[in-house]
Symmetry: C2
Subunit: 347 residues, 2 copies
């Protein structure tokens, strides 16, 4: 199936300078994909020219005269920038001209605009941000929410479970993905009231609920989906980024200490680079805004070409696997089911 992706060409810390070459590389390797570059035509064309590329049947430019800045307040972007590259890219999904859109822009503005333009799927109270994380077993675990919703009700956490499981089911062709609830395990009081009630509700649902998981189980592959409120999820994600960066820097320091260690680094280059590749966060770039009536993928703002390439890949995979339809069906069925089942009160 041919897929068209609308790309917010101006979003992110580097704008068209990163998005355009990433798109060109992606089109080269994915003959079934078409791209609409949305943004200031001059900026986009100059990047195309610099790379001896031009528009054609698989690559169009759709003009948009404004840019949402990285620190702009979401409501201001929503009200005052109706012709922003971000908004117009989302509009193309709404109108059906594109099957998905990708933006490296301001997360808050992207979520607010996507919610306003595309609307949420029937039954979904709040969209969530989901991301695949690598696991020790060589697989991936989908974690959500990563920051869209600071305080979450048990109902919302349950909906995140349904959405995350639908995403994994569609993208990884898993029939009944396992779902875990991020909690703290070893202390006196296990979890706050909302998490306790969410556990009861998830247990009563038709999801393949596996119970509580702790922070260290983000990487064991014990479950396919991990549900958290956006505050906790965001802290866990950023902690991961910070630690990985520190460890990579320490490893680099150790291998550049003397001429002998530098020589060893050259000898061990294939080993070290294979290790680096396995844990390269760029390969996991591309967070999904789930719960909307359309596919929106958020790239890291500081993404380089390779990272943005992977965000494009995520959007295409979601479009090809019918994620939106799956979430819509699952939310409808499972919420009807939950409404019919009395949920035991949390203890």
């Amino acid at each position: 199936m041919d897929i068209t992706v609308a790309v917010d060409a101006m979003g992110g810390d580097h704008g068209a300078h990163i998005t355009v070459p990433a798109v060109l590389r992606f089109l080269d390797r994915h003959p079934e994909v078409n791209v609409v570059l949305v943004g200031l035509p001059d900026a986009i064309e100059s990047e195309l020219r610099a790379r001896k590329a031009s528009v054609g049947p698989r690559l169009r430019i759709h003009p948009a005269s404004e840019i949402v800045t990285m620190d702009e307040a979401p409501q201001s972007a929503l009200k005052n920038k109706k012709d922003s590259s971000m908004r117009v890219a989302i509009n193309l999904v709404k109108s059906g001209e594109a099957n998905a859109c990708v933006s490296a822009g301001n997360t808050g503005a992207l979520m607010a605009t996507a919610r306003f333009v595309l609307k949420t799927i029937e039954g979904v109270e709040r969209p969530a941000i989901a991301k695949m994380m690598p696991t020790a077993s060589g697989g991936e675990t989908c974690v959500l929410d990563l920051g869209a919703n600071v305080d979450c009700t048990p109902e919302q956490l349950t909906q995140f479970g349904i959405m995350g499981a639908s995403l994994v089911a569609a993208v990884h062709q898993k029939d009944r993905p396992t779902v875990g609830l991020l909690n703290i395990g070893s202390e006196e009081i296990k979890g706050n009231e909302s998490v306790k009630a969410a556990a009861e509700m998830l247990r009563a649902s038709k999801l393949n609920f596996h119970g509580n998981v702790e922070g260290n189980e983000l990487f064991t592959g014990k479950v396919d989906v991990i549900v958290a409120d956006g505050f906790t999820g965001n802290v866990a994600l950023k902690t991961t980024e910070g630690l990985a960066k520190m460890l990579a820097e320490f490893l680099r320091e150790e291998f550049t200490r003397t001429w002998w260690t530098r020589f060893l680094a050259v000898l061990a280059w294939p080993v070290l680079s294979h290790f680096k590749k396995r844990v390269d966060p760029r390969r996991y770039n591309g967070a999904s805004l789930l719960g909307l009536k359309g596919i929106v993928v958020k790239s890291h703002g500081g993404a380089d070409q390779m990272a943005f390439y992977w965000a494009l890949k995520q959007a295409v995979t979601e479009a090809q696997s019918g994620v939106i339809q799956r979430i819509t069906e699952q939310v409808r069925e499972q919420l009807a089911d939950l409404a019919a089942t009395p949920v035991p009160a949390a203890q």
Copy 2:
């Protein structure tokens, strides 16, 4: 100054088999320290004999007939095990026979017992669990709470800031340690109500408050103390443990793939082992139960000899630097100060 440490010899996954040899090694290297091993005399003596060691002026055994199991409910341990090794070790701190105690036992039971026996410092609503984490700049950041308090009021978070800063000031001889509040930065709604109000209160305090920090800043050394509620702090800590374990495993896999990579691993052994040493979590074992009228250090339940050694070190350092007195003074002064300063309402 001579320091006496009461050691819960029976606590942890391995009990006396780990605690006794760790203590013997520690006594060897720290002539200013005395230890009281608390627990079943038979078990302790048999470990001492196996290592050709015996009691003496610097090493005593104090009998305790019960053991708190790792999964025992805190309230049950508190009520039913009044002669447990954990409780008796804490009693020795209370009576002044020991300057600090160390236990690798059940965290919930340790906190409940320590609170009951030692009581909290005047003005401290809830004790917190604090831990030093390594940073990229080669220093350490103190993070609290790591799981004792799931839901925290702004007042409690502010008290954690005062306690953490007092710990760092005493142990690292830093005059005005910088304090950050763990929050999420880039999203629409920055933090929940409690965190927003805590930020206002911390700003109004005499602490050297640096504002919000995100998860990735746990490892940059940007601030000396990071304050979080126990739920978020626990997830961040466990996430760190999980990721570090996965990366270590990946690195091991890459270096044991073929005979050539194994040969490289041998050549690069000094480099890899220096890297491993820098990030070895055992060196950071030993969490402090802060806010109590006595020093209680919690070792990881699965600690090996080296890890338990570092928990002993943490307890001795705290005892030598007068942490309890510092916290007591700072809490009294700063809370009086805060009461006199009108705190602006959170926006």
